[in-house]
């Protein structure tokens, strides 16, 4: 237990240092945060226009898009503001700089995750919070729905983190895995921001169980709307499952890793 607290304290310290270091270039930092928030508005706008053009689909109204994008961007921002290093795993593995992480006495995955920081992810966090607050007002959310929203943020973030780790762990299986990792993760990320109401039948099954894109935004919005306990249990169980599975995949991948001859240094 003490070691877990130590690891979390280390992750917290590394994240704060990363943010402080990035904020040194103040103008660039602010431009990234604000720019990303504006950038995210485009997806919201597109799907709202889509809903206005084709009408409500399976009960999905324009306000639900706000919730969908809110969950998606918030968990993206949370995962990659703390763990941007996960995205760099293919680079670390192919360049051989993964060696220096293995020599660190800290938890390997945590050390990799906190090795990098991208200021624009804070823009995602800000945008996600604004969208979910707005969604709460638009739907006149009750106390129970607000509590559920917090719980769902934890579930969606766990799913997102799990898929990010699993996809990037593919780096251990291929010689130059950047393209495969990029393509696989893109398939998950893009789909998670698509209009949830249009996913029915086989597509819904596929994007919940095989590629869990709908666990990130679509199911949480439907849970809040319908107060569906079955969907809540499914989302919770799958998010835990994905997280545990991703850790296993990562650990298995590390065992396959062969050290390179490159000499790299890191602090």
């Amino acid at each position: 237990m003490i070691s877990v607290i130590r690891e979390i304290r280390f992750a917290w310290y590394a994240t704060i240092k990363n943010i402080q270091s990035s904020a040194e270039l103040r103008a660039s930092f602010l431009m990234n945060v604000v720019g990303m928030a504006i950038n995210n508005t485009s997806f919201t706008l597109l799907w709202i226009l889509f809903t206005q053009s084709v009408g409500n689909i399976n009960g999905w109204a324009p306000k639900d898009i706000v919730g969908l994008v809110g969950f998606g961007t918030l968990c993206f921002g949370l995962v990659f503001s703390i763990g941007d290093g996960i995205r760099k795993l293919p680079e670390y593995v192919s360049s051989g700089s993964f060696d220096r992480f293995m020599l660190s006495p800290k938890n390997l995955l945590l050390r990799i995750a906190t090795s990098s920081f991208n200021a624009s992810t804070l823009g995602d966090v800000v945008f996600g919070i604004i969208c979910l607050t707005l969604y709460g007002f638009l739907t006149d959310a009750s106390g129970l729905q607000i509590a559920l929203m917090f719980l769902l943020i934890i579930f969606t973030t766990l799913t997102f983190l799990g898929v990010a780790i699993a996809a990037n762990s593919l780096s251990f299986l291929f010689v130059d895995a950047r393209a495969v990792v990029e393509g696989t993760f893109d398939l998950f990320l893009t789909t998670s921001l698509f209009h949830g109401g249009a996913f029915q039948g086989f597509l819904r099954f596929f994007f919940i169980l095989i590629i869990p894109a709908l666990l990130v935004g679509t199911l949480p919005v439907e849970i809040l709307k319908e107060l569906s306990w079955i969907k809540l249990i499914l989302t919770g169980a799958l998010s835990m499952g994905w997280f545990i599975l991703s850790i296993k995949i990562f650990e298995k991948g590390v065992r396959k890793y062969e050290s390179a001859n490159f000499i790299t240094f890191g602090v």
Partner: protein, 266 residues
Amino acid sequence: MKELRLANKIVTTQIKDRIHYPGRLVADTLANIGRCGILLLLYWYVFNLREGTIQNTTFLLVAWSMFFYFAFSVLRLRDIGKTIMEDVRSGTVEILLNKPISYILYRAWWQLGGGLYSFLVIGIIGTILLTTLIGIPDTMMNLTFALSLAAVFILGIVLSLILYSIVGMLAFWIEEIRPIFWMVDKSVMILGGSYLPIALFPDIMYKLAIWSPFGASQFVTHTMYPSWTREWYSFVGIQLFWIAILGMFTYFLFQKAKQKLSVNGG
């Protein structure tokens, strides 16, 4: 003649490189399945819900329009902005400026060559798949369509390269151009008819898509609609207008950028 030989050399080298390292083709294919493929399935479902027609448009037209957008995006012309930014940041621009070639043209050919292989493979496979699965609209079965498509496609490439080069050149003045890149890129994405086809645009947005350079760079997505055969020449005119205006702006910006360049030795 020399310029053409150089361009040919750059494009051929890039294509050979992509064939030898097919990683990008894999990434592009997966990204296209994720974006275009799933979007088409969603639209197919939505059109079926609405009995085959939404705002007097059929799924057949919408599907081809969206496919054209995503196939065009495989060329990755947008990356020229990031490449220029990297050149400025890393100092590579100094080496390239000292060579007896035009830097901007060199980067443009480089970018085009890098995306051509994926574009051809995904374009051909996608066309065969779409033709087999949903068929070809009548509006795409005539010579006017083929010729005008070729014209707006080439002009669209030139306009996209100019647009993103301008964004890239801002790196001479601003340290972080990514937020500007996102804004331009999302304007192109929205007004180009990516996730929402132009046939479903509200009136004001449709006008913006036609008259802004962002929408004009993606006129390939307009070519399959019935009104195209009557209006294609005005679309070509709009593209030529923007190429002339923004081309001149790029030229002056580049002259200013060269004066702004500071080389740090070490």
